[in-house]
């Protein structure tokens, strides 16, 4: 039998010599140009990282292709970032430009550094997950195409972090992104009493519901859903396949915006509901890409230098944001979950 619990390989195996020598001794960095970071050590050593976009849903052939390039330019050393970009790690400055030339020639995307749009964190979507209310890779591709110039240039007011999760489980960091794309259902699950009885543990199903909308239905040895309390999270479906919630006519996408994770300047913030629903319109989701583009353009035009989306909106006020973005404000925007009250405006201080 194979060995268990060996854990991951030790990271030191994968560090290039320049990193081993200067581990913990980096003195400062510069962004030489979009996609190129230069880290300088106390020893004077210089490390160049060339950042390349990647569709996270990658084939082994793609990875092999990347390896070929790494062998040629970075002595076979490379890494992935926390946002699924690839970084080639070069100790030889003279190889940077040739690398970029070859990358561009082969259709790779170089950029994502500094005040730019970087790769979109996303999840499985219709490619693998049972719970998805929308696709992941497809919208991501469409949005990156739409905003592509901002990946290649560093001309934004601040970093722009977009994320996508295909259902309310929110795998990833959508709840704290500058712009979050979220797959949503809009109708309660349908209950297939017979199969609930057969396939599901009723107490677990009941406990899975965040709004306590599910009650036992002893007669049918099944459950009922209080439709007024159900907000379509799909948690019951995960626990009980006999409560399907997918619905082509009503599933779609919500946009939440203004979140951030870093502690720089302001504390981390949640993304907040901007657009409650946009339709699933494959293959290119034009309503989604269009709305995001509009919001990004508005931010670019109005934010002060250095202001993340949420910092900008907090300065001008959400009421101004909705007006400027021409997004209708609805009852859905007003919180009614556990921590709703602290979001209510308990002051007369607001703008017209």
């Amino acid at each position: 039998m194979a060995k268990t619990d060996i854990g991951p390989p030790h990271y030191s195996k994968f560090l290039p010599p320049i990193i081993k020598e200067n581990y913990g001794k980096w003195a400062y960095h510069e962004i030489v140009k979009p996609g190129v970071l230069k880290h300088v050590s106390e020893s004077g050593a210089e490390l160049y990282s060339v950042r390349v976009g990647s569709c996270r849903l990658a084939s082994v052939d793609f990875i092999r292709q990347v390896c070929e390039i790494a062998d040629k330019y970075s002595d076979g050393y490379l890494r992935w970032t926390s946002r699924h970009n690839i970084e080639f790690l070069l100790s030889d400055a003279s190889k940077v430009d040739p690398l970029i030339a070859e990358l561009k020639e082969k259709g790779f995307n170089v950029g994502g550094t500094g005040n730019a749009l970087t790769n979109i964190i996303h999840t499985q979507g219709w490619v693998h997950c049972h719970s998805a209310a929308t696709d992941a890779s497809g919208i991501v591709k469409a949005v990156m195409d739409e905003l592509y110039e901002h990946f290649e240039n560093m001309d934004l007011p601040a970093k722009l972090k977009i994320s996508l999760a295909c259902c309310l489980n929110m795998c990833g960091a959508v709840h704290c992104s500058d712009i979050a794309i979220l797959g949503i259902h809009r109708k309660p699950p349908k209950i297939d009493d017979e199969n609930v009885n057969k396939m599901c543990e009723i107490p677990t199903v009941i406990a899975s519901c965040p709004t306590a909308a599910i009650k036992p239905n002893p007669k049918a040895k099944s459950v009922t859903v209080n439709e007024e309390r159900c907000m379509y999270c799909g948690n019951c479906f995960t626990m009980c396949p006999a409560m399907p919630i997918a619905d082509p006519k009503n599933d779609g996408v919500a946009l939440l915006i203004g979140g951030k994770v870093s502690n720089a300047r302001t504390a981390p913030m949640f993304s907040r509901l901007a657009v409650p629903y946009l339709p699933n319109n494959p293959p290119r989701w034009p309503e989604v890409t269009g709305t995001i583009k509009k919001i990004v353009d508005l931010w670019i035009a109005n934010a002060r230098k250095g202001e993340r989306v949420g910092e900008w909106i907090n300065r001008i006020g959400w009421e101004k944001f909705f007006e400027m973005a021409e997004i209708p404000f609805t009852d859905k925007h007003i919180d009614d979950f556990i921590f709703s009250v602290p979001t209510f405006r308990t002051t007369t201080n607001f703008k017209w």
């Binding site: 994968f14 990658a58 219709w126 990156m144 592509y148």
Partner: protein, 393 residues
């Protein structure tokens, strides 16, 4: 192999951003499984709905997790993806690789799976997407042989992850890679054998920029910081100014606590007021650096939206020294798990349990002193409790 038509997906081959469709189509040429994935996805695009379902639990011997079972609900149309399970392989700290290692992974996955991957999953694992129940064990055996192990899934410790830290970043106040590795190794059992109320995630960032989004995504966040004075080189600040940076507007006025100032020749930091937010350092890395007395702030409770809505993790230890063998953090982790395991309800993340039972019970159980750094503000309601020993009979 019959050709499949994917007119909708083909639209996603256009545009400047790299296309996953092109990759899928390439791979489909040699992999029937991927051809059916393509077909299934095209069907989803036509119908606007997914076609996957949960099913029986699958896995490999000796492990409770690391594999996500998946089945299509239209196996008649796409028999090759009747089973299409995911294997989660624990990534190396900081996602550093050599091409040798990557090729080894690719070869193994070509052999045992669909050849489709996620580099990486949101938790940080190497996600190997699509294999059959039958292949799971032999695949695992060969991965293990080659030095790779499974990551976490289910109600257990999830694969810890960390930023590139001291390997590639001048801001790192702790050795993120080593901490990540050491914790992963110390808790192999917790990682591989689900036994808790729900999942538990650990993420490690070298500084307050938090480049692995720990505060948002980890039940336990370890974030580098320092306790002494920031290091300031005013001459270098002047260089930034001379190069065109508006120090007053871009740095000083954005300091959250009014802790720094610039008079054209001296950049002053009032270290008592500085909250180490990193902003001024971020703007002028050549001129400013974290202090020397370094360690980490420990935060708890971050998670996504299910059930009680998303929580960001909050401070429980303002400062902890971080030196191998990291006994202090290990002891804390073990205390936390013990308490959570004992009191947590099924599907209750540790943050939710604290919300339900109160910080006072949590702190007492894990042996931490309350400090004001744990809160933005003290409570506004008068509903506080006294321990029996605090009041008279």
């Amino acid at each position: 192999m019959a050709d499949i038509k994917t007119p909708l997906l083909d639209e996603l081959e256009k545009g400047p951003w790299m296309s996953f469709v092109t990759q899928l189509k390439e791979l489909a040429k040699k992999k029937p499984m991927v051809r059916d994935v393509l077909g299934l996805l095209e069907t989803s695009y036509e119908e606007k709905r997914g076609h996957w379902k949960h099913g029986g639990i699958v896995g490999v011997q000796g492990y409770g997790g690391g594999v996500i079972g998946r089945y299509t609900d239209i196996p008649d149309k796409f028999p090759e993806v009747t089973e299409f399970h995911t294997m989660r392989i624990n990534q190396p700290s900081g996602w550093f690789y050599t091409t040798d290692a990557l090729r080894q992974l690719c070869d193994l996955w070509d052999k045992w799976g669909s050849g489709l991957t996620n580099f990486h999953g949101s938790t940080g694992d190497i996600i190997l997407l699509g294999t059959t129940t039958e292949n799971l064990q032999p695949a695992f055996d060969e991965f293990s042989e080659a030095g790779w192990d499974l990551g976490g899934s289910g109600s257990d410790l999830r694969t810890p992850s960390c930023c590139c830290g001291p390997a590639r970043c001048e801001y790192a106040c702790i050795d993120t890679l080593d901490i990540c590795y050491e914790l992963t190794m110390a808790y192999q059992d917790e990682l591989h054998r689900p036994m808790w109320p729900y999942k538990f995630k650990i993420k490690i960032s070298g500084c307050a920029n938090d480049c692995v989004a720990a505060i948002a995504r980890a039940d336990l966040s370890i974030i580098g910081t320092w306790r002494d004075a920031m290091k300031v080189d005013s001459a270098k600040v002047k260089e930034y100014a001379d190069a065109g940076m508006d120090i007053q507007a871009e740095v000083v006025e954005k300091c959250p606590t009014d802790a720094c100032s610039w008079d054209g020749s001296e950049f002053k930091v009032n270290n008592e007021d500085c909250v180490r937010c990193m902003h001024c350092i971020n703007k002028m890395p050549k001129a400013l650096r974290p202090g020397d007395d370094r360690g980490a702030t420990i935060l708890i409770g971050g998670k996504a939206t299910i059930l009680q809505s998303a929580f960001l993790s909050w401070v429980i230890v303002p400062f902890m020294k971080m030196e191998p063998p990291y006994d202090e953090i290990k002891e804390l982790l073990e205390n936390i798990w013990e308490w959570w395991d004992e009191h947590g309800k099924m599907r209750e993340r540790v943050g939710e349990l604290i919300y339900r039972l109160g910080m006072r019970n949590f702190l007492k159980a894990v042996g931490l002193e309350p400090v004001p750094q744990m809160v933005y503000q003290p409570r506004a309601n008068p509903y506080f409790f006294w321990w029996p020993e605090e009041v008279e009979d």
